[in-house]
């Protein structure tokens, strides 16, 4: 029953990302709902679930029409899942500021690795443009993660 809920929510967010994220695009930048989902899952269920779900969702993303660097998404989302899994039950141990800083840093790191690989040329040609691209991609997803924090904050997740 629990695994059914797990699969249904995963497929639902994947469909939202596949079909609706383009409607929210600003130029070529879109929010990454799947990264937010992995963050939630990993904080609730821990490192193991975070890594496995990150890897599987990464594979699903790359199979949904990625042109080059097939395999980059499972790598990135596994890292996100593993790192955010360390935040399971950490809200009571850390101060809210450090807890927020941790998940913001994890998402920032994920997009940084993504941009380093995808925009390696731009980093060499125009570093300022590269940092703007990273900031744009990261901030747009942060906006949605922030909105979700108001609706359903991480600290309300009960560790399983």
């Amino acid at each position: 029953m629990k695994s059914n809920r797990y699969i249904i929510s995963g497929v639902a967010v994947w469909l939202i990302q596949l079909l609706l994220a383009d409607l929210l695009a600003i130029k070529t930048v879109r929010p990454d709902f799947l990264a937010i989902l992995i963050l939630y899952w990993a904080i609730k269920y821990g490192r193991l679930h975070g890594t496995v779900s990150g890897f599987l969702i990464g594979i699903l993303i790359d199979l949904s029409g990625t042109a080059s660097f097939f395999g980059l998404s499972p790598l990135l989302y596994s890292i996100t899942g593993y790192l955010s899994g360390n935040l399971k039950g950490a809200y009571s141990k850390l101060s809210p500021f450090y807890f927020s800083l941790a998940w913001v840093g994890i998402l920032g790191l994920q997009f940084f690795i993504f941009c380093i690989v995808q925009y390696q040329d731009i980093l060499y040609i125009d570093p300022r443009l590269f940092w703007m691209k990273w900031l744009g991609t990261t901030l747009y997803t942060f906006c949605f993660a922030g909105i979700l924090q108001v609706i359903y904050p991480f600290h309300r997740l009960e560790p399983c």
Binding site: W14, L15, Q17, L18, L19, L20, A21, D22, A25, K27, T28, V29, R30, P31, D32, L34, A35, G46, R47, L48, T51, V52, G54, F55, G58, I61, D62, L63, S64, G65, T66, A67, S68, F69, F70, G71, L72, S73, P74, L75, S78, I79, Y82, G85, F111, F114, V117, Q118, Y119, Q120, D121, I122, I125, D126, L129, K133, T137, Y140, T141
Partner: protein, 266 residues
């Protein structure tokens, strides 16, 4: 052995993480594997099928506006065709006088963009044509304005297109009227950079950029963009050009795949 097993079970989080990293790296390093291509082609078909209702709704939403624009464009193109027919007649006469025969035929397959990928940045699209429509990997994809990418994986009725905005994308181009050639790479926001251009050629802002024809993929003469800036690289024998690309990468719904071309020059 038992101790090893117990250590793995105890540290299964870390073991699974390392396994995930290694397996992802393995896939990343085996992108060109043909078996991987088959899986990606099949998955593109599934994504195209899932995306088709949404694409249909989107096209209905924009139908009236698109119809209006097409009517306007039709009038403009009719006028252009009229003047081009006269120019072609004149060109034929001049070619006959020079005993020169130049023929270029491009066979285009129209396609609908069914999905624009899932990654946080737009780097690829899925179109609704595949091997059933004679579309194969490494065929140029363009809009009426110019080149936007090439097909990289094809299924029966869907194909993945690598966009010009992908980091692995390079295009051999020629700048007109000087005839200089260079290698184009995307920079962002409809801007591109052209390197490997000889320093001694005369290039001005606004010069037209077309495909050079040096590549096995792109026939010569396909529109690419316009020169937006010319810079001399110090200590180098090359110029660096900045180019404006005409396509808005976030706003096209229909594309054409060049499925056949033949250049015959005598």
């Amino acid at each position: 052995m038992r101790n090893l097993y117990l250590a793995i079970v105890k540290n299964r989080d870390h073991v699974i993480f390392i396994f995930a990293l290694l397996f992802s790296s393995y896939i990343l390093l085996n992108n060109d594997n043909p078996r991987m291509g088959v899986i990606r082609g099949k998955s593109a078909e599934i994504v195209a099928f899932i995306s088709s209702p949404m694409t249909w709704v989107k096209s209905l939403l924009f139908l009236e506006e698109e119809n209006h624009l097409l009517r306007e464009k039709n009038v403009v193109l009719s006028l252009q065709v009229e003047s081009m027919l006269n120019l072609q007649k004149e060109n034929d006469q001049l070619q006959t006088m020079l005993d020169f025969k130049h023929q270029t035929t491009l066979l285009l397959q129209p396609a609908h963009v069914v999905n624009k990928g899932i990654q946080p940045n737009l780097l690829s699209i899925i179109i609704d044509v595949g091997t059933d429509d004679n579309v194969h990997p490494n065929q140029p994809v363009l809009t009426s304005k110019g080149i936007i990418g090439k097909t990289i994986e094809t299924g029966k009725n869907a194909s993945i297109v690598q966009l010009i905005s992908d980091v692995n994308y390079r295009l051999s181009v020629r700048i007109l009227p000087s005839g200089a050639t260079g290698i184009l790479r995307w920079l962002g926001d409809n801007q591109a950079q052209i390197r490997e251009v000889q320093k001694n050629v005369d290039i001005s802002i606004g010069d037209k950029i077309i495909t050079s024809g040096f590549s096995d993929i792109y026939p010569a003469g396909l529109p690419v963009g316009q020169v937006a800036g010319v810079y001399d690289e110090r200590g180098s024998f090359q110029k660096i050009l900045h180019a404006t690309l005409p396509n808005d990468m976030s706003a096209f719904q229909y594309v054409f795949v060049v499925i056949e071309n033949s250049n015959e020059i005598e």
